[in-house]
Every structure is written in C-alpha cells, then in structure tokens.
C-alpha cells in the first residue's frame, strides 16, 4: 500500500495567506492614528466572529439568529477568568485567555446545539432566535454573573511584563488580535478541507442523500455548531481583552444581527466572503456612523439590496468576473459599468438627500432648520430643496434603470460568447 503522493506546491495559496498576514502586520505601521487602530482591532475580532458564523450559514446551511450567544458567553467567561487571575485565584497567561472564551463557547454549543441542530432551515432559525432571546432575558435576571446594566469590567494588564508585553498599549492588543485572527482563519480554512467540513457542505446541499450515504445529519450539524461556538467564543474573549468590559449587549439581538448582516453582505458562499463583509460593515459603522445618524438605515438598505439582487454577496460579485477576465472580455463591461456608476451616483445623491432631510425635518424642523448637504446650505422647511432631492431620486432611478439594462445585455453577450467558446473547445 505504498502509494506515491505528489502534491504540487500551491503557490497561490501561500501568496494569499502570506499577503494577508503581511497586510495585517504592516497596516498599523502605515496608519498610526488611534482611530484606525481601534477600527482595525474591531475588524480583526470581527473576522474571527464572522468566519465562525459562516461555518454555520455558508458551510452548514444553518441560518442562525443567535450567534452572539456563543461569543457573548465566551466574553463573559473570559472577563470573569481575567478578574480571578487578577485576584490570584489561579495563574493563566493573558495571551491565552481567549481560549477560555473558546471553551465556554464550545460548551454552550454542546448544551444548546444538541436541541437546535435537529432540523435545519426555518426551524433552526426559529430555535436559534428563541435561545438568543432566552439568554438575553437571563442576562437581566442573573446580575451576579452578567453584571446587570453596567456589565462586568476588568483590567487586562496583569502581573509582570513578559518580554516587554503587558497588553497595556492598544498596539500590543492589536498584534494579539492579529495573531489569534491568523491562527483562527487558518484553522477554519483547514476545517473546510476536512471530512467533517465536506460533510457539512453535503448536509447543507442535500440532507436526504447525506443520510442515505450513511451520515447522521444531526451529528454533522451538531459538531459544526460546537466548533463554530468555539471560534465565536475566542472572538468574544478577544473583544473582552480589547474593550476590558463585557455588557449584556454582547449576547444581545443586535450583536447577532450584526454578524448575520456582515457575513451576508460579504458573501456566505466563499470562505473569504465574511472577511470582506466585516471590513465593509465596520467601515460603515465607524465612517458613515460618524457622519450621519441614519447609518443603520443605509446599512439595512445595502443588506436588502444584496438579498434581492446579489444573494452571493460581494464575494460572488468579485468571483463572477474571474472567468470574464480570463477570457479577456472585460472591455465589454467597462462602458455599461461606468454608466451605471454615474447614474447610480445621481440616485444615491437623491436618496441620501431625502433621508437626511427627512431626519432633520422630523427632529429639528422647528428649532434648527438650517442644514448643509453636499456643500449646499438651505432651510429644511423650504420646498425647493425637497423638489430637487425628489427629482434626483426619481430621475436617478429612471436613468440608472437604462444603465442597468445595458449591464444586463453586456452580461448576456458575454455568457453567450463563453458558452460558444466552450462548445468549440
């Protein structure tokens, strides 16, 4: 049985992983401000969380509305562990404390997962929601553990410095997060290549056939959920170290909704999709959220548009261009894309104007009607700005439909050409 194995050096994979690691390590040296460091730390934790969520949604086909339960409980166990270490109850290196969160997440995955994974689809979604509400309601009942309204706070600087690492400065925490993020990303990617990861895909696509082949679909889903809970717990532990406080919000419905939205925007069908999603999500939260109060509205709108018109998320939008680029047909798309971008900008300007003016009108029409939008100063109580905004919205909608149809035609041609070439080959 001595089989000769030959595995070619997968240069592309090494380049992608090495490049990712390099970017994550070098970025804080280029962008040195505290603002970007906070953002990048958030993104690093978010990547682990979203990838663990995608083990359920993308790999296992389980739509969960309560993934924050595992990360949140992981964060709570980490915060209590940190406090116990500070009190000298036991010794454990701070660097490894996210593991405590991970184990807690996995244990709760075992407890809740056995019940929830009996079915997939709508039933799973409902039970995950029920469990999320259960835990959220419990967080207000047991204030000893959950810390009530104020939450539980801690101090990540414990004991003597080891090789100068105290985790006092946030740059050190950033590199801790990067280290964990890289390890977890690799582990989760490796998981997709294991028999269990492959079976999770099979159970997602056709549970009946998977059962006939002899696999227990419940067990496959259960193990997937436990592992996802483990990685979510690590993310929770890292966020606890990052913020030094854990509140009931960490297990709440909004945290669960956030990871769902981010993962789906990025694209659940590809491994790297959630990473794109989490970057877009946190950029919107911090950048757009810094400018306007209506950022949640824009985020919700983006999510709905993705669900309606690009259910594979940004990742699928990128990936669908790969064969076109290989076939050297991109030149057919540039013009329709440019037209869509230009007309889409008109539509977007109209939309933003209407939303922002509505918001200002409903909150401060009487007290402070003056507002500035896109460099124009006007009173929100006047009719002319409203007419312009509505005109931009409607006009932009009409012209962008023409541009959009042109994109559709160009894609139709390209698919036709690709099919013909394939038939000829």
């Amino acid at each position: 049985m001595n089989k000769l194995k030959y595995r070619p050096l997968n240069l592309g994979r090494w380049l992608v992983w090495g490049g990712t690691a390099l970017v994550m390590i070098v970025l804080p040296l280029i962008f040195t401000s505290g603002f970007t460091l906070t953002l990048m730390s958030q993104i690093g934790v978010g990547i682990i969380f979203a990838l663990s969520y995608n083990m359920l949604l993308g790999q296992g086909g389980m739509l969960s509305f309560g993934h924050a339960v595992y990360s949140g409980l992981g964060a709570y166990f980490t915060v209590h562990a940190l406090n116990l270490i500070t009190d000298g109850a036991f010794y454990f290196p701070v660097t490894l404390t996210p593991l405590i969160g991970g184990v807690a997440g996995a244990v709760f995955g075992v407890i809740f997962g056995y019940v929830t994974t009996k079915k997939s689809g709508t039933t799973f979604a409902m039970i995950s929601l029920g469990i999320a509400e259960l835990v959220a309601a419990c967080s207000l009942m047991f204030s000893d553990f959950f810390g009530g309204e104020a939450g539980v706070s801690t101090n990540r600087v414990i004991g003597k410095a080891f090789l100068g690492i105290t985790y006092g400065p946030s740059i050190q925490v950033y590199y801790l997060i990067v280290g964990w993020a890289l390890i977890c990303m690799m582990a989760m990617f490796a998981w997709t290549q294991t028999p269990l990861g492959r079976m999770a895909n099979a159970v997602r696509d056709n549970p009946e056939r998977a059962e006939f082949v002899g696999y227990d679909t419940h067990m496959v889903r259960f193990l997937t959920l436990v592992l996802a809970g483990f990685f979510a717990g690590i993310a929770g532990g890292l966020s606890c170290i990052n913020y030094e406080i854990v509140t009931a919000e960490n297990v709440g419905a909004y945290a669960s909704a956030g990871v769902l939205i981010a993962t789906f925007i990025g694209g659940a069908g590809f491994f790297f999709g959630p990473i794109i999603g989490i970057i877009v999500f946190f950029t919107m939260v911090t950048a757009v959220g810094g400018i306007t109060q209506a950022w949640l509205f824009y985020l919700g709108l983006l999510f709905l548009l993705i669900v309606l018109y690009a259910p594979g998320g940004f990742a699928s939008l990128i990936m669908m261009h790969v064969p076109v680029i290989k076939a050297r047909l991109m030149r057919r798309l540039w013009l329709p894309y440019a037209a869509t971008l230009a007309t889409g900008m008109i539509l977007l300007t109209g939309l933003i104007s209407v939303v922002e003016m509505t918001y200002r009108f409903s909150t401060e029409a009487g007290t402070n009607p003056n507002m500035t939008l896109f460099g124009f100063a006007f009173k929100v109580t006047e009719g002319v700005p409203w007419a312009i905004a509505a005109g931009l919205l409607v006009g932009g909608f009409i012209v962008s439909r023409f541009a959009w149809n042109a994109v559709g035609r160009a894609w139709g041609d390209i698919i036709h050409i690709l099919q013909e070439r394939e038939a000829a080959a």
Partner: protein, 315 residues
C-alpha cells in the same frame, strides 16, 4: 379572587391581541412557507400610522385607514420584494423579511424619532366600563376585546364561507391544482400577505395606545409572536389561538406573582439559607423569570413536541 379575575381579563385581551398578530403570520406561513420576520414591524407601522392619522382626522377614521395603508405596504412588499427572492428559497425569504424589519425600524426612527410618541386612547373610550369588586375595568380593554373578537369571526367567516376563502384554503394545500383551475395564485398570495399585514396593522392601531408606541415595540413583540406560532404549531390557526391565550396568561400572571422556590419550600417546612449552592436560582421570584418563560416554553416545546399544540407537521 379579584386579582384572579382582573388578571384573567387582562390576559384574554392581551392574548386576543397576540392572536391578531399570530393569525396573519400563521396564514402567511402555511400558504407561502415564509416566516415573516417583519410581521411585528407591520404591527408597529399600524400604531404609528394611526398616531399620525388620528392627529389629523381623529381616532375612528384612523381605525379603518391605518390597517388599509399597512395592508397596501404589505402587498407592495410581497409583489416587489418576496416574489423576487422566492427563487432563492426559504432562507433568502427569511433574510429578506429580516432585513425589512431592520429597515422599517430605522425608517420609523428617521420619521418619528427615537423616543415614544404620545398616541393616546381617544377621550370617548376613556373611563371605566364596569367595576369588579373594587377595581374599575377600563372601557378601552373591553373595546380591544370587541375588535379582536369581531375580527376573529370575520376571518373565520371569510375563510370558510366566502369564495375567496375557499380558494385560499385550496391554495394552501394544492396551489398547482388551483392554478390549473384558472385562479391567479400569485395574486391570491399577494392578497393574503396584504391581509395578514393589515391584521397586524389593526392590532397596532388598538395595541399602540393601550401599551406604548415606540420604535422598540416591534422588537419587543416580534419574538413573542414567533413563540406563539411555534408553540401553537406552525400553520395551525386553532393552535395559534390557544397559544396566544396561553402566552397572554403566562405573561400577565407572571408579572404579578412574587413567589420563589424558597417561599414554596418554606411552606413545606424546608428552609434554604442565602449561602446554599445556587442560592440565586432558588431566590428568583416568578415575576423575575417572567420575561424568560415564553422562550423557555418554546424551547421545551421544540424539544418534546416539535409540531406544537395543534400542528400537523414538523418544521
């Protein structure tokens, strides 16, 4: 006795309100297989529309106009949203309604602000209907019950006696056959979705001023309505009715009962000190556990009887 009767009346009025929400959700679910996450958002829209309209032309016109408006919004959502994502499967539909719930909440924030709006009970319905022992029972609660019950009878008659009701019932189980017989099934779906939304809107009109009208009201009642639908049995109207009343009773009574396991054991002659293991759990009173009970019921139901009280199918 007085406490029991008053609480029972409150439970029934709240349970009937829940049923107005869950009946629409159940019919939509059994017809289209869509679990509408945004259903409670239509309830919220009903309350806000009624607040706005009653500010302009009074409560009574609002009682009729607001649900119709919500129904039209619902039909538009079905026609231009759900029908588009239908080809991607049930998970995509669930995600769509989830995103919609999010968007409606934000739209309410944008238009009506983040705090509650002063949507009050109309003056003609203020005051006490009758006095039970020493407690005045408000007219508005009686009015709520009357509206709910008449709606209930209305749905029942429409579904069982009218032509469109028979088409709907047939389309529930045999959509293809109904289509072959020349009925426009997608349009029936759209109307059912609109009707369910309008019912939720009506519940919002009469519930918004009995409780509070605020942007968080959809998120507060939404999961409860899901609990009702799951406990009652997915797709069963009778089950949804029983479960609505059950949840209404649980929620109303649990708020008022201040007993814990420690008290119970003390009655039996066993004392548990504050140092006992898990003392936090034993000292919890029923009123403290109130918010958890519906979800606990749902999870237990899914473990032991996944098809619900009256359901015919699992999941």
């Amino acid at each position: 006795m007085e406490f029991f009767l008053i609480s029972m009346l409150n439970s029934v009025s709240y349970g009937l309100l829940l049923f107005m929400l869950s009946s629409g959700l159940t019919i939509i679910f059994s017809m289209m297989g869509v679990l509408n996450f945004a259903h409670a958002s239509f309830y919220m829209l009903g309350a806000y529309f009624a607040y706005q309209i009653s500010g302009w032309i009074g409560f009574w016109p609002a009682l009729a106009i607001a649900p119709l408006l919500v129904g039209m919004v619902g039909m538009a959502v079905e026609r231009y949203g759900l029908r588009t994502v239908h080809k991607y499967g049930h998970v995509a539909e669930l995600l769509f309604t989830f995103g919609l719930a999010y968007l409606i909440e934000e739209a309410v924030h944008l238009i009506w602000g983040r705090s509650q709006v002063p949507y009050a009970v109309p003056p003609s319905l203020e005051g006490a209907a009758f006095t039970l022992f020493s407690t005045d029972y408000p007219i508005y609660r009686v009015f709520m019950m009357a509206v709910s019950v008449s709606m209930l009878i209305g749905i029942y008659l429409t579904l069982t006696r009218s032509r469109i009701g028979l088409v709907i019932q047939a389309a529930l189980t045999h959509p293809q056959t109904v289509e072959t017989l020349g009925h426009n099934v997608p349009r029936v779906f759209m109307m059912v979705f609109g009707g369910g939304s309008a019912l939720a809107g009506l519940a919002g009109v009469i519930g918004g001023n009995a409780f509070v009208t605020e942007p968080g009201m959809a998120a507060a009642v939404g999961p409860i309505v899901f609990v009702v639908v799951v406990v009652g049995g997915m797709g069963s109207l009778a089950g949804a009715f029983l479960a609505s009343l059950l949840i209404g009773i649980i929620q109303t009574f649990s708020v008022a009962l201040d007993y814990s396991i420690v008290d119970l054991l003390a009655k039996l002659g066993i004392t548990i000190g504050p140092d006992a293991p898990l003392a936090v759990v034993w000292n919890l009173t029923i009123s403290q556990t109130g918010p958890v009970l519906p979800y606990l019921l749902m999870v237990l139901m899914l473990i032991f009887r996944p098809k619900g009280i009256m359901g015919t199918r699992e999941g």
